[in-house]
């Protein structure tokens, strides 16, 4: 057992994603998922939101918001599959599904936020 594992990199991503989701997701879900649809608060109009999203700072914010939490999910879900369902022997498949999925989501977010939204 000489060479150290590269697991620290995945754990750092998991931790960063954990912080981002903990700080930001409750308010996003509360507003966009419940308060605005149910009319508890006045939802911002489509033009205003689009103008907000177009701003470079918001683009970066949303890119981080969509990317890091996915890696948080990937890492946590991978271990849940190992321990909860005891299917560790499928670990290559699990890794591809989890980290591949997170990478795909990140690529999609980058596409929408940095490329296709004018």
């Amino acid at each position: 057992m000489g060479k150290r594992s590269n697991e620290p990199f995945l754990w750092l991503l998991f931790s960063a994603g954990g912080v981002v989701s903990a700080l930001l997701m409750p308010v996003h879900l509360l507003l966009f998922g419940l308060a605005f649809p149910l009319g508890w608060l006045d939802a911002p109009g489509q033009e205003k939101l689009l103008a907000l999203v177009r701003h470079p700072v918001t683009r970066i914010y949303l890119l981080i918001f969509c990317s890091l939490p996915l890696f948080h999910w990937a890492h946590r879900f991978r271990f849940t599959l190992y321990d909860g369902l005891q299917i560790k022997h499928l670990n290559e498949l699990i890794n591809i599904f989890c980290y591949g999925g997170a990478s795909l989501g990140t690529a999609l977010a980058a596409y929408y936020l940095l490329w296709s939204t004018p």
């Binding site: 903990a22 700080l23 308010v27 879900l29 966009f32 879900f77 849940t80 909860g84």
Partner: protein, 135 residues
């Protein structure tokens, strides 16, 4: 492992049940905490769909907003909110354990690190709300 001998025929190995996590409340709480990550992923998916609808124009976005009003989505987002809040609370309470900050030789108590985390949570949530709600 001790090898079986004439005087020690075999040791008994208990198989871990697939439902080990239901046997104790602490284990169930742990699995629920880990399951919160699925709802974190859902929030990202919903946000990506929202950004796509926004970019496509007012009609698409109105359709997206209607979809969010459907009972299924409202229920899903209510459950997601509960899990995401559970993640945030457990995260802020546990994160201090990884960090050892010493002030004048004494280790800072956990509350001194968890407290500012919760405060930051409140401030950032208020800031996001303000940005979205101002006219």
């Amino acid at each position: 492992m001790i090898n079986p001998t004439e005087y020690l025929p075999r040791s008994y190995h208990t198989r871990v049940s697939t439902y080990w996590w239901l046997k104790r409340w602490a284990y169930l709480k742990f699995i629920l905490r880990e399951a919160s990550s699925v709802f974190v992923a859902w929030t990202v998916v919903m946000t990506l769909l929202q950004i796509r609808a926004l970019a496509r124009g007012p009609a698409d976005y109105a359709e997206f907003q209607n979809w969010l009003r459907s009972p299924l989505l409202l229920a899903l987002n209510a459950v997601s909110l509960a899990f995401v809040v559970f993640h945030a609370v457990t995260w802020f309470n546990l994160a201090p354990k990884a960090m050892v900050i010493r002030l004048r030789g004494k280790r800072l108590p956990n509350l001194a690190i968890a407290g500012p985390n919760f405060a930051a949570w409140l401030v950032i949530s208020a800031a996001v709300t303000w940005i979205l709600l101002r006219g």
